[in-house]
């Protein structure tokens, strides 16, 4: 192993640099074994004779090592992640067996363990830490800033970093009017999907007559394939709680509630312990920040219904009912939980509010665009080299996110391909797709809406050229169809019929009439649905129809799926130019449909083939096409 020496940790400007090792313990890294790595570190650092500190201390002895767990750092794919401070090294895919090297080489001898460093997929360069990793380099992390360094279970550390100063300021120095004005001036828009101006929403609830009011934090994160809110709750739960307190002060509420998705047990646990610690500190309770005002917070788990992310459905769910939306107006800001003025804000919106109160509206507006100020976190997933959480200012382009940060599109074997980009689906099941033509489109609320898509919660799924867009639309339709609460006929039945029409297309039963009917139904469902779920359910179909009409036509009129994903339409064949006659596929075919002489191009007997796709997976030369 070539070991590169590191400057002595205590060598910089006479200041005693604190030795610290952080193990990511978010859902992803825990799944990859982070707890075991952490325990091994504690044991082995101790065995090496170094004092170990596991709780927060502002200062500690130079030879001691502070070990702590953090929340998700957004790069779960490379987990478990281990950060070494003060050098700010990032070791990735660390296994228990690697801990000995980290302790002996880095912590004791002050050398790098090169093999644990991240290797950039494009330049093949080893990166020492986040400053050198393109995935992180090009992001501007605000909401996610402390996720990954701070110990999420230590209120002391949060306070030490200036935490709860904004809430205190809101309670002690500012009036509710001033808070609402500041948020309005910042131009903050809701990060939960709609992009509604937060200041205006708060002002609407504030101006209601005094009395019982509620604030709810929407942590239901229903968009499948998105995990921005989970990461913030796991990584920096106090920032969410502090935002919630500011909102409560702004509208004059004394009760708050955090509605967390039940699929996120770690986030639930971290939020609950944050609430408990804030109570112990006197930030929550009968006398918030010594102002004599009561302020309470409760964490409630959802029960697995996407529609409960919708405000009025969430309120019904909290009241112990089925989570079904009701018509608006009255808006929750006028009449919400138990008929009282209620505001509901997304996790990320609340986390932004903390910074706005701390640093002022002007500072917030320095990033992003005029109409969409600030940053937004996207969950970048699908066929990209680097999947993970990406926080960029509004106005960043799709190209920057997918190529510069995401590292480009990958093929089905996970290798980066040059021309692989086909589309991204943005905004989850309510959103739409963006194509090659949109690569330079700035990502912000208004441009996306103009392109027939939406920011939504921030799910961004990249799809390579082997992805069938009809199947993709079907996937989302299947989801919304299942999640429809059933209140509106057009949503309940319409989505089901749209799904059946898509199945007809995919399975080769469609005619020209099918597409026409699909379009008609789509607009009927949009018009005839009460809540956002039904209103936006047709979006994935409409936007794929708009941008990939030829793909629908191929399915309908030629009974052909251009990507070969739709099994019922598949006609696998072997490209004689590519086939070297290795016989691998013929041996694997379960029905012996493949014949040919060794070293001669093989052929497939369509009458026998059951379209299982085994041959495609088997062929190393990619000679089998059409499945």
């Amino acid at each position: 192993m070539s070991a590169q020496s590191l400057p002595h940790p205590n060598g910089n400007n006479g200041h005693t640099a604190q030795r610290r090792v952080i193990v990511c313990a978010g859902t992803g890294c825990v799944a990859s074994g982070a707890y075991k790595v952490f325990q091994a570190l504690v044991d082995q650092v101790r065995a090496a004779g170094l004092p170990v500190i596991t709780e927060f201390r502002p200062e500690h002895e130079a030879d001691a090592v502070r070990l702590n767990k953090s929340g998700c750092q957004g790069f779960c794919q490379m987990g478990p992640l281990v950060t070494v401070l003060p050098e700010n090294l990032l070791y990735n895919k660390v296994r228990v067996e690697d801990v000995a090297a980290i302790v002996a080489e880095t912590l004791v001898a002050g050398r790098l363990v090169e093999r644990l460093l991240y290797v950039d997929s494009t330049t093949k360069k080893r990166c020492r830490g986040v400053e050198e990793i393109p995935f992180y380099q090009r992001q501007q992390r605000f909401v996610l800033r402390s996720c990954g360094t701070i110990d999420p279970e230590s209120i002391d550390e949060y306070v030490h970093q200036g935490g709860y100063a904004a809430a205190k300021k809101a309670y002690v120095q500012m009036t509710p009017e001033q808070i609402c004005q500041e948020i309005t001036r910042s131009g903050l828009r809701g990060r939960g999907g709609g992009g509604f101006p937060t200041g205006r929403k708060w002002e609407a609830a504030r101006s209601q007559p005094e009395g019982k009011k509620y604030v709810i934090c929407n942590a239901d994160e229903g968009d499948p394939g998105a995990f921005m809110n989970r990461s913030v709750m796991e990584g920096n739960p106090h920032s969410v709680l502090e935002g919630l307190m500011i909102a409560a002060r702004a509208i004059g509420a004394d009760e708050t509630l955090i509605y967390v998705r039940t699929e996120y047990p770690l986030a639930v646990q971290r939020m609950r312990s944050a609430v408990k610690d804030a109570e112990a500190r006197g930030f929550l309770g009968d006398n918030a920040f010594g102002t004599g005002r009561p302020l309470r917070c409760e964490v409630m788990e959802g029960a697995g219904a996407f529609v409960c992310g919708e405000e009025t459905a969430m309120i019904a769910s909290i009241e112990g009912q089925r989570g079904m939306p009701r018509p608006k107006p009255p808006f929750p800001a006028q009449s919400g939980l138990w008929g009282k003025p209620t505001i509901i804000n997304n996790v990320e919106t609340l986390a932004h509010a903390v910074r706005i109160v701390n640093e002022g509206a002007e500072q917030f507006r320095t990033l992003g665009t005029a109409a969409s100020p600030g940053t937004k976190t996207f969950a970048l997933t699908g066929h990209v080299a680097n999947t993970g959480l990406v926080e960029v200012p509004f106005g960043a382009t799709l190209r920057e996110v997918v190529f510069d940060i995401g590292g480009g599109i990958t093929d089905r074997r996970g290798k980066v391909t040059r021309d692989g980009f086909k589309a991204v689906q943005i905004g989850g099941p309510s959103g739409g797709c963006l194509t090659r033509d949109h690569l330079d489109l700035p990502l912000d609320y208004d441009s996306l809406r103009g392109a027939g898509a939406m920011v939504g919660s921030g799910g961004l799924v990249a799809m390579n050229s082997k992805t069938c867009m009809v199947s993709s639309a079907r996937f989302f339709m299947d989801f919304t169809q299942r999640e429809s609460c059933g209140k509106c006929v057009l949503c309940r039945e319409g989505t089901r019929q749209m799904l059946a029409l898509l199945d007809d297309i995919i399975e080769g039963r469609a005619t020209a009439g099918t597409l026409e009917l699909l379009q008609k139904l789509a607009s009927a469902v949009q018009k005839g649905s009460l809540c956002g779920l039904g209103k936006t359910a047709p979006n994935p179909v409409l936007s794929t129809l708009r941008h990939f009409r030829e793909e629908y036509d191929a399915h309908v009129f030629h009974k052909h799926c251009p990507t070969g994903q739709c099994k019922a339409l598949a006609k696998p064949s072997i490209d004689p130019a590519k086939c070297k006659g290795c016989t691998a596929c013929a041996k694997k075919c379960p029905v012996n449909a493949i014949t040919g002489e060794r070293k001669q191009a093989h052929t497939i007997n369509q009458a026998l083939c059951i379209k299982c796709g085994v041959c495609v997976d088997t062929c190393k030369l990619d000679a089998v096409i059409g499945v």
């Binding site: 499948p224 998705r261 039940t262 999947t387 799809m463």
Partner: protein, 175 residues
């Protein structure tokens, strides 16, 4: 009241339910957390418990049943000893989660028919050892495709690796 009329065995069961109800001050508004706690205890929501909860809260059994069947997290049928959940959220779906589901269903001889709304029973093996379900995203999308077995998350799975995980449990159970 209802508890008194029940036979011994079931009566004792209600002690725990009573405890849960009391923790929530027998407040009907707390129906969702109450059912969550009950399910945590029994692993499903037995019908007689639902009726008991309704009586104790002073609401109609239909209201309780309505809530219990609305939310995907609740189940009114007993589940297998091991709960195998395959993520079919967008991130996992594009990374080919469906072949994993098929492989698991084939290995265990179960069939998820949720979409057609028929017979939840077919998600569970006859020996009541395994239940196979899909969920929409567990928030571990960076590790797609993801399988969760008894709350342990396994990332970057393939049909073969997922079947192996299940087979390890089968061997363990056979011993």
């Amino acid at each position: 009241m209802t508890a008194k009329r029940k036979p011994e065995g079931t009566g004792r069961r209600f002690v725990k339910v009573c405890h849960i109800l009391d923790q929530h001050n027998r407040n009907p508004a707390r129906l969702v957390p109450i059912l969550q706690a009950v399910q945590e205890e029994y692993r499903y929501l037995p019908q007689e418990v639902l009726t008991y909860v309704a009586t104790a809260l002073g609401v109609s059994p239909a209201r309780v049943y309505g809530v219990a069947t609305f939310y995907a997290h609740f189940t009114i049928l007993p589940k297998g000893k091991h709960l195998v959940r395959l993520c079919d959220g967008t991130a996992c779906h594009v990374k080919e989660s469906v072949p994993i589901l098929r492989a698991l269903q084939k290995r265990l001889g179960v069939d998820e028919q949720k979409r057609l709304g028929v017979d939840d029973r077919r998600k569970t093996t006859e020996d009541m050892l395994f239940t196979v379900e899909t969920v929409a995203c567990l928030g571990a999308c960076g590790l797609a495709p993801v399988v969760v077995i008894d709350d342990q998350v396994y990332g970057q799975q393939s049909p073969e690796s997922a079947v192996k995980l299940v087979e390890a449990l089968i061997t363990q159970e056979a011993q």
